[in-house]
Symmetry: C2
């Protein structure tokens, strides 16, 4: 719809047809979990436009229930399948915005009617029906139960929504931490928040089967199109002069569920570690893949992971065909890797740009995709932009990581809470990626860092950013400035770092120096570490020197601030000291056994 | 303190002395209004450090009650005045961080004990005492009353605090709108918020006298140092190896109030328009000027408006003396003007950089100051970065202004509220400045725009920013992206604009076309305008063409969105149409008589 709308604004005379196989155009994909939770009470609020409103405002010919079944590139026609038969639609310029389809995980019983996806309006309708049925059956001693498979962005939103509806939720994730795009040392903050809300976590395992727990089982294929039926079930295809699928954060319309069948009561979900979980319903979100079958069948070039290959203006290998959204291959910033990135923001702008190209308007080349994303998990927010540490390691890109836990606004103003920040920098200081988790101010810092990343800013630049400060909003030294300061010190040798992941090496071959207070140390500390509170360090240098006995000194405090001062004192007298990035807070996240 | 702390971290061996004439170092200037309101209940929370804590953590020699009275540059000594006499302190490197002093407005009776400043801890102590006395005297029929002179950032914070304490407040501002740095079309939003909280506004007038309303008047010079005493009362001077005044948002410690004298009861404040206002207390904040007398007396070069001239490393005209903070001349971004900019963020970073320079550490040159600032006014937030329209006009810099009123997060998610955005762009698309007012999400957008401004981004770059989107946080097309889209269209001719300030010209020589709904039009509309709802426009083109009769067509709706569509329709059929930037919302702010 972004492309179709922009096309009309650029050309009053173009004939613009939008083909959509489902009954809905331009619905709020990203709002679905909030309709499930009831926060968005009115289902109509999800439906941003209708064919009638789009005709009135933009003179668009929107045809819902019309599926693009094939493209005849030589004849420049699209074969359109409808309930009443097929017809050929000619085009001068064709835009493909088919989105993605849900990946079908290898779970026996995936087609059980208790198993739901959460990607389309029919999906959420079916899921809400099932939730209502489970609530009607539930009793105080036997609350409704759900299993959510996949702890990605949408999976976490589904968990939050189901807890809000009174469900006890088991969350199953194959990776070893929730929200796999998040770096490992931030994920435990989310895990703690989930546990605090009664969610049971099953990490590092997969679901293997869903079987009916009621005596008379029923089973109807439903939420996930079988692999062989994907081409026929191609969720959204659009033809033009212009036209694009309604696009929101997770952009594609897909995996249309059938009607909710008769309630089959509870199911049992078995996990790969043998755990058996009873549930009234199962929500499965384990990722998507480009819905590129129509393009492939038409002989268009595909790229990495089956995504449609396009140029900077989103033109495919056929000069009369453009493509946008979750189905296309984009270049990822930082790594330069090519692949699909299913995000609403880039998809919207791609639609706009493709329309400009189709209509001969000025275009600006698409920037590489940063992968900026955010999710609310109860009281916490987690957000990412650019490359994660895992991505950098995989790509073999050298980087220095810094961890901070600054307050989201001035500490002396009531209500300050920590923003847990992780960022990676190239040796030359260039920002490569950043992630944050916290209760307040996370979205702001990640948006600033996404902007800095797009601008190619360095640690020096972050240090010098001039952000808005009054006590309710920030600090004179904003967390983003602090990130710059710390990275400057780490990169220019003022403050060499050690990382929580280096712990066993550090314990083996260096002196661990704990500069926290006696009270903090009493709660938990590393065996064999020397304890000298940072304010006593200048008077006890001989003691430290003797204990180090020529070895490097690995300093830590709770967050990395006092140990930075201590590191500078030690280096100032010629000792080889280094500071634990993120302090005990980060150490404990990486080594949960230390919490005990 | 930023400089002193950084100096210690860079050199364990330096002897670092900090001179501070007041009893306090490193206090939270920006927190003072929130201590007045009671939000920061504990006065100790304002005192971030003490000489004892600074000795323990950083081995600093902090001397409070010690005033730098003179500099002997040849001998490299500072004459330090104390209660017990004077002494000479030698230095290798000297840092001046004296801050600013409050401007003394020409008000008869300014020295009355009912008149208060709000820049130091003693100021807020005295003001809280006076507030308590007034509350004790007040009755239900005769509530406590305050007059606040100056509607800048701190003045507005003082108003909010006094209303929170139960005062009826009159706010007096010489400019024709509150928060003079804000552009005229955004200020009415703040004015409405102030009025809604019972604040009486007196705009375009000054206070001329304060006289005792009680029978036996007392008068003791107090909150504002008389012009002739400024040198002696120099608020903060620091000497080095390193040293800097504690610095927070409004950085200088100044205008030390004496003790609160015996309550003199009410005063009468007379305004330049003859209005007489009774009040229990008066708070005056009409700006500051650099406290550069010590530097001037030492023969250091001063620049614009008496600010100390420094190089990129903050070195003054004497190679052994550095200067930072509210007292120095900085280059302002966008205009390139030189002058003092009293803001905490830049001052903190200046201190850090000066210490690096003094200690021979790597420095990065100071970036030009953007003037990013923010204030909370009850439920609203107002924030600015870069050049305002008024500044651009004054500097003769060509620019295109765009006005938007997008939701702070997805409209379909509950609680969406408008961010009123104004931004200026150079003809080549470069962002020059941005301002915003709204209930939520204002700080985030201004911080992103401040980052974009620092990076030299253009409208094309803003359009392509990839910001974090989930329904509780933003939109797939964030307000900052929308700013880019609208500016692109305005600058490349896709959507020529007209401005609310062009109204009389537009009414005289063009057809005004109102494309709002009939219901919206019924509430208020421009006389002589043609009404065609935007969804009817394609069917009523002949009517518009006839009414225009060859004249340009000035289209408007409520916010600028529907009128953009209409502008494109009209231009698509060859008519000379242009869109009202910001729509009726902005028109009404600029022409308040239209609200009637």
């Amino acid at each position: 719809m972004s492309a179709a709308a922009r096309a009309r604004r650029l050309s009053e005379s173009a004939e613009i047809v939008v083909l959509e196989q489902s009954p809905y155009v331009s619905f709020a994909n990203c709002g679905l979990p909030y309709h499930l939770s009831g926060e968005i009470a009115d289902r109509d609020d999800l439906l941003l436009h209708t064919p009638v409103s789009l005709r009135a405002a933009l003179n668009l010919d929107v045809r819902t229930g019309h599926r693009a079944a094939a493209i005849d590139r030589a004849a420049r026609t699209v074969t359109v399948a409808t309930a009443d038969g097929a017809y050929a639609l000619p085009y001068d310029a064709l835009l493909l915005a088919p989105g993605a389809v849900a990946v079908r995980p290898p779970i026996d019983g995936l087609d059980h009617p208790a198993v739901h996806a959460l990607r389309t309006v029919p999906d959420v309708d079916a899921l809400r029906d099932r939730v209502d049925q489970a609530l009607a059956r539930a009793t105080g001693t036997c609350p409704p139960r759900a299993v959510v498979v996949g702890a990605g962005f949408i999976g976490l939103e589904a968990v939050e929504a189901l807890v809000a509806r009174g469900f006890e939720v088991d969350l199953v994730e194959l990776a070893d931490h929730v929200l796999p795009p998040l770096d490992a040392e931030l994920a435990p903050l989310l895990a703690d928040e989930l546990l605090a809300h009664g969610v049971a976590l099953h990490l590092g395992v997969s679901a293997t089967s869903v079987v009916d727990a009621s005596p008379a089982a029923t089973s109807v294929a439903d939420a996930f199109p079988a692999a062989t039926s994907v081409v026929d079930a191609l969720p959204t295809a659009t033809s033009v002069p212009s036209g694009a699928a309604g696009t929101d954060r997770a952009t594609s319309a897909s995996s249309a569920s059938g009607p909710a069948d008769a309630p089959a009561g509870q199911v049992t979900v078995t996990l790969s570690d043998g755990t058996a979980l009873d549930a009234d319903l199962v929500v499965v979100n384990v990722g998507v893949r480009p819905a590129s079958d129509l393009a492939r069948d038409a002989g268009l070039d595909l790229g990495a992971r089956g995504a449609i290959r396009v140029d900077a203006d989103h033109r495919t290998s056929d000069p009369h065909i453009w493509a946008v959204g979750d189905a296309i291959e984009v270049r990822q910033a930082v790594t330069g890797d090519a692949g699909p990135v299913p995000l609403a923001g880039p998809a919207n702008r791609q639609g706009r740009r493709a329309a400009e190209s189709m209509l001969g308007h000025r275009t600006t080349p698409q920037a590489a995709v940063l992968g900026t994303a955010i999710v609310r998990v109860f009281g916490l927010t987690a957000a990412v932009t650019g490359a994660s540490q895992a991505t950098l390691v995989r790509a073999g890109i050298e980087h220095e990581v810094v961890h901070l836990h600054p307050n989201h606004h001035a500490g002396y103003y009531p209500g300050a809470s920590a923003v847990h920040l992780v960022a990676s920098f190239a040796p030359d200081g260039r920002l490569l990626g950043a992630q944050a988790v916290g209760r307040e101010g996370v979205d702001k810092r990640i948006d600033v860092l996404a902007t800095a990343l797009r601008a190619g800013m360095t640690a020096d630049d972050l240090a010098e950013l001039e952000l808005a400060y009054a006590p309710p909003y920030g600090s004179a030294k904003d967390p983003v400035n602090m990130l710059g300061f710390v990275a400057q010190n780490a990169l220019d040798g003022t403050m060499p770092q050690w990382q929580a992941t280096d712990l066993s090496d550090a314990m083996e071959s260096t002196l661990i120096l704990d500069v926290r207070s006696a009270k903090e140390r009493a709660a938990a500390h590393l065996p064999g570490s020397l304890h000298v509170p940072h304010t006593e360090l200048r008077d006890r240098l001989d003691e430290v020197r003797t204990a180090a006995d020529g070895r490097p000194i690995s300093v830590h405090c709770a967050s990395g601030v006092r140990s930075y001062l201590a590191t500078r004192i030690l280096r100032g007298v010629g000792l080889d000291a280094r500071n634990l990035s993120g302090g005990w807070q980060t150490l404990q996240a990486v080594h949960p056994s230390l919490s005990a």
